[in-house]
Symmetry: C2
């Protein structure tokens, strides 16, 4: 019942055209003039954009390790490769790249083309005391791909983009065996001829990989129910330093603690995910979306709560607070905006949308356009703004504007206080750090019967040369506030190195001991992504 | 937003009236005459039932350890307590109890009334080299509560039935903080005044506890979507020998590997679950059920597959094969029977049922009664037979009939071959072992978009005195067959000690190394449920 897919076209995993310093495609970055115009919208921003340095003119640290000859064909120490693999795409990464600071550059970039190559790189690295930082699309916004431990003889960035194929499809079970290095669009292109889709669309979709999504428990398309990639996993194949870990393809099991759940979210510290059997969807044929306005943001939250507890599982249920809705251009009079979407491959969805809108109305919502089956302009405006946001963030960075996005989740009983608490306390911190009020907006990206996942955006003018220090101060305060409200340090951006202080407080200590022990068992040389989740150990 | 519930009535967690040798309530066991009548339905069964020994007349092994005086009030070495805590309720447990074999009896039964008591018992046991076997309702059918390691200075059965309260309810988030030792009916009785329900109804519901469900990843009411208790967990509180592990209440998180998922399914080897915040449901107000007949079992499977992939998530979607349907009395002409149920607390479900029935008809199904909103007789007959089954199993055991139920899951591409493979190969084994054809029936208890969870029942006459040996032979063959089909050794019965051979082959070796390391970190003295999931280590 499975189709061999050896004849699939191999899409290019090449990062040609990718920005080495900022988000995504180099040619989508805003021009100097556009940056300056954007900066004018933020009182206190710089007058001129930080220049983008010529990468070929930058000084990189000396290369400390050379691969053995058998691995040499997979490795590159070319400055452009090393520069592009130095950082992820956090605000502080972008600023440091613009400042030409590439002190953290890896010594080598390895590009395996087979799983055996991954095994070989790990074997060599363990023997040589070289750290290995798994690298998918490099879109981490939490310091997930930047080596900082200073304990190893060298650092290899393990770029998995060469493992980019859908290898097998099981139509009966609607599942596919997929290599971990495939980027979102290439993955969907390979599934499309089969009428199937993974339907996992994080904001980073174009520039992140299946393996990255799995390693970081990414949040995707669905606002309810199957919010994280975790739920779409049937089985994993992971190269660990002590051997390949392959779980069985199972729709469900109760045989001990789930092996997959240990590797999901392990962020490259326990092994390198090379393949996964993923649960797929048929492409939706029926869709309806609608926009609902609320005068009161707390009434809007109550409506969202009622919707998540109704059992309807809308695909989209995105609540924008007044600031966020204003910024996105979908409301102009201080309303909160709820964007609802339902979809199905099998049957009409109009009835479900009608019921969702009734719940919204019960809480004072005013649907702006509720014709079932129609696309909705707010959703369209939102989607295009959503994909454009990281480029705008980079443009603001060039204008020395500090921007920070952070996402969390908490139970409903705490949600109103969290919302007000962040806007209150963080505003004070922003004032203290930047001397201005700045802007703090919020949307709910995913929602659950027992609580929402709020996503906050902070924008405030920074001082040129101090952007990273200011960002760091705001980040520390953010983690403090989330902790005080019992809200997770991250709902889907992962922990990396930047979220360690918050994560360490959130993680129960016995579990931390168990995780450290598991790490020691799987990665006895301590070479895998040192410093992420677990303190790095000195090399023997 | 949370209600303090200190004024709740504390329901009795007392096992008064519980059978010491067999399933459930002593007064629901079949009489000798009923056993004999039942035996006549199985050609080759014994003529007379095995007698039930007088527990007070049985010889128990000498008590090897005494608790320190501070813990003495919590402990009992009374023969009746020790006898009742010797085994779970597997077939081989029942036979051995009927044979008066209590060699595996624990030295002490501890009944903590507070979490601190649990901490104290573990502290003492770790120092004293005494094994601790966590015990909820004692309904394990996989040797989960029977000490077999022979390595410790003594054994304590840690009976958590004294921790039986709902401590707190958060209405906004529809969640409750619940002590782990509460039995199903007592839990629901405490939630009912609040209009809420956990809605987790395993077959063992009356005689199993929340903590047992969590530790074994139990399967519950819902046939689709939220099949395992795992999905209903918001956070856990677990006493480990190195400290209390408490995860945060979060509706969702991407902060590292899930701490809860390490303890879910850990079967008492990593810690003792004392409390959990559980996600609740409102009680359903709208229900519809229907029964569909199929002439061809494979067409019925195709219908179920279409239903699980439709996105409708029926609460019930139970497929009985012809043998199972005949035994349950819901079909008499060799048909397969699909019992469908949909429910909602919020809105009418008739439309969903209509669509499910249309999918069933597409695959040759004939609804026998499809009026939306009606209860359905097949469902009623089934439910009452379902709860009665373990008592019938015990009656058959007394007639020296070998019965074995095993449950599994596999992807749809393998399901037809698994079904035929079990019925073919296992029938041969049954013939070899018992000299008769026996009966092998199957139902699907839970189903997923990527595969079903088939549950098989084997019934064949055994030889008096050899029942356990025969059962063991069948069990070994069963695990072999499941392995060869890539089907899990257990979907929701857990691993315990009886499933270790199948589990060890299914579990990826690197994960096994990680789990052993985690166990060593959390339980350095190796006292917790030795032999379950992980080989027991010699005591220092």
């Amino acid at each position: 019942m499975t189709d061999s897919t050896t004849s699939y076209p191999s899409p290019s995993g090449s990062p040609a055209g990718r920005s080495w310093w900022g988000w995504g495609a180099a040619d989508k970055a805003l021009s100097d003039a556009e940056c300056a115009a954007l900066g004018q919208l933020v009182p206190g921003a710089a007058d001129t954009p930080l220049p983008v340095p010529d990468v070929s003119a930058l000084t990189l640290p000396e290369v400390r390790v050379e691969p053995p000859s058998a691995l040499a064909p997979l490795m590159s120490a070319a400055p452009a490769d090393r520069a592009a693999h130095t950082y992820g795409k956090a605000y502080r990464d972008v600023i440091r790249a613009l400042e030409g600071d590439l002190a953290a550059a890896p010594d080598q970039v390895a590009r395996p083309l087979t799983e055996q190559h991954v095994v070989d790189v790990l074997d060599w690295a363990a023997d040589a005391g070289v750290a290995v930082v798994p690298y998918g699309g490099g879109s981490s916004v939490v310091g997930g791909v930047e080596y900082r431990a200073g304990l190893h003889r060298g650092v290899v960035s393990l770029d998995l983009s060469g493992l980019d194929r859908v290898l097998e499809i099981d139509r009966a079970s609607r599942a596919a065996r997929i290599q971990a290095g495939v980027l979102g669009p290439d993955l969907e292109a390979q599934l499309r001829p089969h009428g199937l889709t993974l339907r996992h669309f994080p904001q980073s979709f174009e520039f992140s990989t299946l393996g990255g999504w799995l390693a970081t428990r990414a949040g995707g398309h669905y606002a309810t129910l199957r919010t994280h990639i975790d739920d779409l996993v049937e089985s994993l194949r992971v190269v660990t330093p002590i051997g390949v870990n392959e779980s069985w393809r199972l729709p469900g099991s109760g045989a001990g603690p789930s092996p997959d759940r240990l590797f999901l979210g392990s962020e490259g510290t326990l092994g390198v995910i090379t393949e996964a059997w993923m649960r797929l969807q048929q492409r939706p044929r029926h869709k309806a979306s609608a926009t609902v306005l609320f005068d009161d943001v707390h009434a809007a939250m109550d409506a969202v709560r009622a919707i998540t507890q109704s059992g309807h599982h809308p695909a989209n249920c995105r609540l924008l607070d007044p600031g966020e809705a204003g910024l996105a251009g979908v409301a102009r009079n201080g309303e909160s905006v709820l964007v609802l979407g339902v979809e199905s491959a099998h049957c009409a969805v109009d009835g479900r949308m009608t019921e969702l809108l009734a719940l919204a109305r019960d809480h004072g919502g005013r649907p702006t356009r509720a014709e079932p089956g129609s696309n909705d302009s707010a959703a369209d405006i939102w989607r295009s703004a959503f994909l454009r946001m990281p480029y705008l963030r980079d443009a603001l960075a060039r204008m020395s504007v500090v921007t920070e996005t952070f996402e969390t989740a908490c139970t409903w009983d705490r949600a109103p206080e969290l919302y007000e608490g962040v806007r209150g306390r963080l505003a004070e911190v922003v004032k203290e750090v930047t001397g201005t009020d700045g802007t703090i907006n919020c949307r709910f990206t995913h929602v659950y019967p027992d609580g929402p996942a709020p996503y906050f955006t902070v924008i405030a003018p920074g001082r040129r040369g101090s952007e990273v220090a200011m960002w760091d101060e705001i980040k520390v305060a953010t983690m403090e506030i989330l902790h005080d409200h019992g809200a997770t340090v991250t709902h889907h951006h992962a922990v990396g190195r930047d979220h360690r202080p918050g994560y360490d407080r959130q993680r129960p200590e016995p579990f931390a001991a168990a995780l450290r022990a598991a790490k020691q068992a799987l990665d006895p040389a301590g070479i895998l992504n040192p410093g992420v989740l677990i303190d790095p150990a000195p090399v023997n």
